[in-house]
């Protein structure tokens, strides 16, 4: 009897272990696939950002180029006062070029977690410095439907020492197109802080992706930032030269 119980228990343990391992791999793979889809090898985007507050709003427009996970550069094209401001990210370093005073400023790392130009996004969200792949462990926790797509619900827990402010991140990835349709950000005390909700799925360079992302600070009523992709192209040829401090002064509006 004891033996059988032991064997049963052993089999169960092995199964749990295997499924755990399989699950972990799968969750990571899903995130990897979704992340790669969203980035492409290279990308070019034109974006409108609406900052919404209960009695106030502001609209910004920008253009951005990315290459792999390490290089990104973007330029503000509107409003007039900030027009021409350039942000460059190379690996873990970030620079900011201000044309009015013709000066390039290097951001201290602590600046990355600041809100970017009054939006509900941090600088880090914008330049994607922290990696949802490398800085977290991943686990599938369930299934759900978002925007009419069946999604995996994947939980991300930051690794120790990872430069991440969140205690937990939950991502909804749809099973057919690998789109990240919703992301919930929890603080270290497990309170839901921010939600990023994707909608208006469109085809960009043959890839289906949400063209609108709403970033909502859950605690603040009537407050949100809406990102709309006006243009999104993938795997175009972008020279490495684009992502240098010398070139950032040259990027055109």
């Amino acid at each position: 009897m004891n033996e059988i119980r032991y064997i049963k228990l052993f089999c169960f343990a092995v199964l749990v272990l295997i499924s755990g391992v399989l699950n972990a791999q799968t969750a990571e793979e899903i995130i990897k696939k979704a992340d790669e889809k969203y980035r492409g090898k290279t990308s070019y985007s034109e974006m409108t950002i609406d900052i919404i507050r209960p009695k106030w709003s502001k609209q910004m427009k920008m253009k951005g180029w990315t290459k792999g996970t390490k290089y990104s550069v973007s330029i503000v094209t509107s409003p007039a006062k900030e027009k021409g401001t350039v942000f460059l990210m190379r690996d873990k370093e970030v620079w900011n070029y201000m044309p009015t005073i013709d000066r390039t400023i290097k951001f201290p790392p602590s600046m990355m977690l600041q809100n970017w130009m009054g939006t509900d996004l941090t600088n880090d969200d914008l330049v994607k410095q922290s990696s949802i792949l490398e800085d977290y462990t991943h686990k599938i926790t369930g299934e759900d439907t978002k925007e009419g797509f069946t999604c995996w619900v994947i939980e991300l827990i930051p690794k120790e020492e990872a430069p991440v402010v969140w205690g937990k991140v939950v991502i909804w990835v749809d099973k057919s197109e690998y789109m990240m349709l919703q992301t919930d950000y929890y603080d270290e005390d497990d309170f839901l802080v921010n939600q990023m909700i994707g909608s208006d799925v469109k085809e960009f360079s043959g890839k289906k992706l949400p063209s609108k992302l709403r970033v909502i600070p859950v605690e603040e009523e009537g407050q949100e930032t809406i990102l709309t992709y006006d243009k999104l192209e993938f795997d175009i040829k972008i020279s490495d030269q684009y992502f240098t401090t010398n070139y950032m002064k040259r990027i055109r509006l």
Binding site: A80, S110, M117, G118
Partner: protein, 414 residues
């Protein structure tokens, strides 16, 4: 009759032919006109598209009101309407040309009270005069200045600029000993662009993140100009610059950097000045500035810095009034005293409202400058700012409020 008839028919035929040919001509010219119109139109469209893609026009209009007082027995009130026009034209892939104009209209107490205010306003730091007082009445003044006027050539390896331009070599927020061509004064918040230098600047890119550059500015007396060589490079996640220059009446060696220790940003600039022979000054001097910046998770940003000027005065009692009234800020002389400290705290309260509080302490002068500021972004292109400059200093035995200024401005950007 027949003849007539035939004549008539001939005439008719003639007319008919003429008419036909006229019609043909008409048709032809119509086609021609259409082609012409089409060409013109497409040309106009081309010009329009070209202009849209290659011409950038921007600027702002700002109304600034200043109230200056020591106690409330008298308040000096000044008004300034300030307009900036920036035009940038991309001539082709390599050439760009820029012209920027600064127009200002002054009225209020200072214009009336300060003798020769018009001359004071029109005083250029450059030797090429590109400014003019359009109106100079006892109570009203309009001044216009070409602030930038240059041609830029750019290729993969070269970046060459000739004309009135800003050469910004500073790294710190408050004090920039490396900024040889155009030292910035933290107090002069109303002129963020800074006056340009009339110069030739040649940059050669040794890689994407490193370069060698040289710049020379024009002055009427050549021995008072600046000729500098700078090497920029990136190593160990730091941006470095090394410079050597003939700086006005000195020889200068400099070093500057930007980087971080853990999460704290650290920036530094040092310049060592060696007076040339046959100048009044004999002593070498060192000017150095270091600053730290850190952003807290709650959004508060801090910047702490210090400035050392070895030639600065160390004894308060030796300071003469002239030291202040004749004090001209330059990379060599950013503060008249030896040790100065700077601190700034800033925090955005909402996306629309930003607040900051800055302070400068001039140790030997025992002077304290406090600068609180509130910025409000009213609407898309409208801003409102309120800023105060409060000066405290030690006089005799007591520490007194010496002067105060309150500035408020509205700005519309386009």
């Amino acid at each position: 009759m027949i003849i007539r008839n035939s004549n008539y028919s001939n005439v008719l035929a003639f007319f008919a032919t003429s008419l036909r040919s006229f019609r043909e001509t008409l048709q032809y010219s119509r086609i021609l006109i259409i082609i012409l119109l089409f060409t013109l139109q497409s040309q106009a469209q081309e010009t329009q598209t070209w202009a849209k893609e290659n011409i950038q026009f921007s600027g702002y209009v700002k109304y600034l009101n200043t109230s200056t007082f020591q106690d409330l027995d008298a308040i000096l009130n000044d008004n300034l309407l300030h307009n900036r026009l920036n035009l940038k034209v991309y001539l082709n892939n390599n050439f760009t040309t820029v012209i920027e104009v600064r127009n200002r209209a002054f009225w209020g107490n200072s214009v009336q009270v300060i003798p020769d205010y018009a001359t004071l306003i029109d005083e250029d730091i450059q030797d090429i005069d590109l400014s003019v007082n359009l109106v100079a009445k006892p109570a009203f003044l309009v001044h216009s200045k070409i602030d930038r006027l240059f041609v830029n050539y750019y290729s993969d390896k070269w970046n060459i600029t000739l004309g009135r331009q800003r050469i910004n070599w500073g790294k710190n927020l408050a004090w920039n000993p490396n900024d040889l061509f155009n030292a910035y004064s933290f107090f002069d918040f109303d002129y963020e662009e800074r006056p340009g230098a009339d110069a030739l600047r040649i940059q050669y890119y040794t890689s994407g993140n490193s370069s060698i550059e040289t710049a020379i500015n024009y002055t009427e007396k050549w021995k008072e100009n600046t000729l500098a060589l700078k090497y920029n490079f990136h190593k160990y996640n730091y941006d470095f610059q090394i410079l050597a220059a003939k700086y006005i009446q000195d020889y200068t060696l400099g070093l500057g950097w930007e980087g971080a220790v853990k999460n704290i940003g650290i920036k530094g600039e040092f310049s060592y000045f060696i007076p040339q022979e046959n100048t009044d000054e004999k002593d070498n001097s060192l000017v150095g500035a270091i600053s730290f910046d850190y952003y807290f998770k709650n959004g508060i940003a801090t910047n702490l810095g210090t400035l050392y000027n070895s030639a600065g005065v160390t004894d308060r009692n030796t300071i003469e009034l002239d030291d202040f009234t004749n004090f001209q800020q330059s990379a060599k002389n950013l503060m008249p005293n030896r040790w100065s400290f700077f601190g700034q705290l800033s925090k955005p309260l909402t996306p629309a409202i930003n607040t900051s509080f800055s302070g400068i302490y001039a140790y030997e002068l025992q002077g304290v400058y406090l600068i609180p500021q509130v910025s409000y972004s009213i609407a898309q292109n409208w801003d409102f700012d309120l800023l105060a400059q409060v000066f405290y200093g030690k006089q005799e035995d007591s520490f007194d409020n010496i002067a105060n200024s309150i500035f408020l401005w509205f700005r519309w950007s386009f």
